[in-house]
Symmetry: C2
Subunit: 339 residues, 2 copies
C-alpha cells in the first residue's frame, strides 16, 4: 500500500541506510546519490512512518500545547502559531487542556499533566499562563526531562520563555492616557494567579509616579480578566462622586474594558467624552465594542510560533534563548483628551 523505505532503497539501488541518511539530511552521502534517492522518494510519494521512526529514535515528533487558560481567543492564536512552526519542522501539535474540576490546585494540575504526558510521549511542551507560573508543573516537566518553553512575560527558573514586555506596554499605555490630560486614571487588575497581572499593574504605577502623581488605592480595583469582574469593578469606579471619579479607566484586558464601556453606557456616561477607556490584548471584542477600544496588541500568534520553533530546533541548536516580542499600542476611539 504505502511505500516503505525498503521500496525506495530497492528502486534506487542503494541500501536502506543510505536512503535514511538522505531523508534525514545526514552528511557523508555523495551528492549524486542524494539527488537520485530524493527523486525516487518523491516519485514513490514516500514519507516515513512516524511510529517506526519514533520507536527507533525514541522521539515522537509531537509537541504538546498544555493549558488551563480559559481565554479561547488567546489559546487559539497561540495554537495557530505553534501549529505553523510545527509544520515547518515536520512536527505535529497535540492539544491538551487541563480543565478538570474548577479550583483545582497547582499540585493537582501537575499531576494531571503528568498522567497525560506519561501516556503520550512528546518531544516538547508549550506552557501558557497561568500554568507556566506553577513551580510544581515546571518541576514535573523537569523530572520527566521534557523540554518546555513558557509563553510568559518573564523568566522563572531555567525554562526559556517567549513573551512580551507587559510592564513596558502598560507603562506606555498609561503615558498615553496622561498625555491626553487624564490625571484620575482608574485601573482594573487582572487575575491574581497570572504573572502578567502584576507586571501590567507595575507599568501603570511607574507611569503614574513618573508623572509626579500619586497612585490612589481608590482607583485600583481587583478584577480577574472576566467580563463579569469588569462589570463589578467598573461599577465601583464609576459610582465614585463627581470630581473624584476617574476620567479614564485602564482595564488589564479587553473583556474587562468592554465591561467598562457597557456599564458606563448604562450609567449614562458617554465614552469617550465623559470617560476614556482602554484595554489590553486587542482581542476581536476590541473592535466590536462601540466605541472601539484603544488597547495593546499582543503578538500572540508569534509567541506560539516562536515557542514551537524553539522546541523543534532545540536538539540541533542550543540557542534556547528567552525573548521578548514586539507589542503595539492600538489607538482607537475609546480614549479622548480631557477638555
Amino acid at each position: 500500500m504505502k511505500a516503505t523505505i525498503t521500496d525506495v532503497a530497492k528502486k534506487a539501488g542503494v541500501s536502506m541506510k543510505t536512503v535514511s541518511r538522505v531523508l534525514n539530511n545526514e552528511p557523508n552521502v555523495a551528492d549524486k546519490t542524494r539527488v537520485h534517492v530524493k527523486a525516487i522518494a518523491r516519485e514513490l510519494r514516500y514519507s516515513p512512518n512516524l511510529a517506526a521512526r519514533g520507536l527507533a529514535t525514541s522521539k515522537s515528533y509531537l509537541i504538546a500545547l498544555i493549558y488551563d487558560n480559559p481565554s479561547i481567543n488567546y489559546i487559539s492564536h497561540i495554537q495557530r502559531g505553534a501549529i505553523d512552526a510545527c509544520r515547518e519542522a515536520g512536527y505535529h501539535l497535540v492539544v491538551e487542556p487541563l480543565y478538570l474540576e474548577k479550583a483545582i490546585s497547582r499540585e493537582e494540575k501537575a499531576d494531571a499533566m503528568l498522567s497525560v504526558l506519561e501516556k503520550l510521549p512528546v518531544d516538547g511542551v508549550i506552557l501558557t499562563p497561568p500554568l507556566c507560573d506553577s513551580q510544581a508543573v515546571l518541576q514535573t516537566l523537569d523530572d520527566l526531562r521534557i523540554d518546555c518553553v513558557r509563553v510568559a512575560p518573564k523568566k522563572k527558573g531555567e525554562q526559556p520563555f517567549v513573551g512580551m514586555d507587559d510592564e513596558t506596554a502598560a507603562f506606555q499605555m498609561t503615558q498615553h492616557l496622561l498625555k491626553q490630560g487624564h490625571e484620575r486614571i482608574g485601573f482594573i487588575k487582572g487575575h491574581v494567579n497570572h504573572a502578567a497581572t502584576d507586571l501590567r499593574y507595575a507599568g501603570y504605577v511607574s507611569a503614574i509616579s513618573e508623572a509626579g502623581l500619586k497612585v490612589s488605592s481608590t482607583f485600583v480595583v481587583q478584577g480577574d480578566f472576566s467580563f463579569e469582574s469588569g462589570v463589578i469593578a467598573s461599577r465601583i469606579l464609576l459610582e465614585l462622586p463627581d470630581g473624584v471619579r476617574p476620567t479614564a479607566i485602564f482595564a488589564s484586558n479587553d473583556d474587562m474594558a468592554a465591561a467598562v464601556v457597557s456599564v458606563a453606557g448604562q450609567m449614562g456616561f458617554d465614552v469617550p467624552c465623559d470617560l476614556s477607556v482602554c484595554g489590553f490584548d486587542d482581542t476581536p471584542i476590541a473592535r466590536i465594542v462601540s466605541p472601539a477600544l484603544t488597547t495593546v496588541r499582543q503578538p500572540i500568534y508569534k509567541m506560539g510560533y516562536q515557542a514551537a520553533k524553539q522546541l523543534t530546533q532545540s536538539s540541533n541548536d542550543q540557542t534556547q534563548i528567552s525573548q521578548f516580542l514586539d507589542f503595539e499600542i492600538m489607538i482607537r476611539a475609546s480614549v479622548s483628551a480631557i477638555a
Copy 2:
C-alpha cells in the same frame, strides 16, 4: 527509565503476551492473572509506548481535527469536545488547520489535506464546515481509507455526520418572530459555501410560508457570516423606507446579528423597540452585545465530543450512525413584540 512491558511481565512472572492481553482487555485470561498483572502494571506506573504499539498494530491512536473554518469560537468548542472524547478512549487529538493562501480551491484543499495525512497517520478525521461539504476532500479520505465523521448539518455521501437540525431551528426562530407579531422579517444569509446557509434559509422560508405570508426577495440579503458582511446587509435592509422596512431581522449567525444591532444604533433605531434582531449560534458576542441577542444555541461542544467518540469506537462498534443533537432557542432582549 520508563517501565516496559517486559518489566511488567518479568515482575508478574508471566509472558509479555499475557501482559499485553490484560492491557488490551483481550479475552482468555484467567481473572486471577488479570488482576495480578493489572496490579503490577499500576505499581510500576507502566503505560504502553504508543510508537511501538502503533508500529505493531499500524494504528496511531491519533485523531485529526481538520478545518478551514475561520470561526475561532466554533473550532475551539468542537476541539474541546473532541479532546474530551479522545481522552476517554486513550486517544489524542492533533489539530490541522488548512489555511494556506486565501481563496484556495477545494481540490487544492484536498491536496493540502492529503499531504498532511500522508505524513501523519491518524485513525480518524473530524471534518467541520465548510470543508466537510467538499466532495474532493471526502473522496481523498476515502482513497486513504481513513474513517471520518462530518460535523455537519446533513448527510453527504456515505460519511456519517454529527450535527443539529439547522432547518428546524431556523423555522422555530422565525416562528418566534411571527408570534411576536412581526410580519416584515428580514433575513441575512450566510456564506454560500456552507451547507448550513441553505438549511437556515429554508427554515425561514417554511415558517414565513406556513404563516400565509410571502417571502419577499427585498427582505433577503446575502451575507457571508462575517461582521462586515452583516454591516453591509443590514444597511440595505434598514435603508428601506418606512412602512416597508422590516420590523425584525433574522441574521444567519451572531456576528452578523451583532452588526445589525450596531448599524441600527448608528442609524437611530432602537433595538428592540424599533427593530427586533436575532442571531444564530449563541457565541459569546450574543451576550456582550447590548441588548443581548435572542439566538439559537448550537451544541457545538457536544458535536465535537460525539464526532470523536464515534471515531474512537468505530473499530469495535459498527454503529456509526449519523445523529442530530438538540439545539435550544435562547430568548433574550433583542426581540420584542410588535406594539
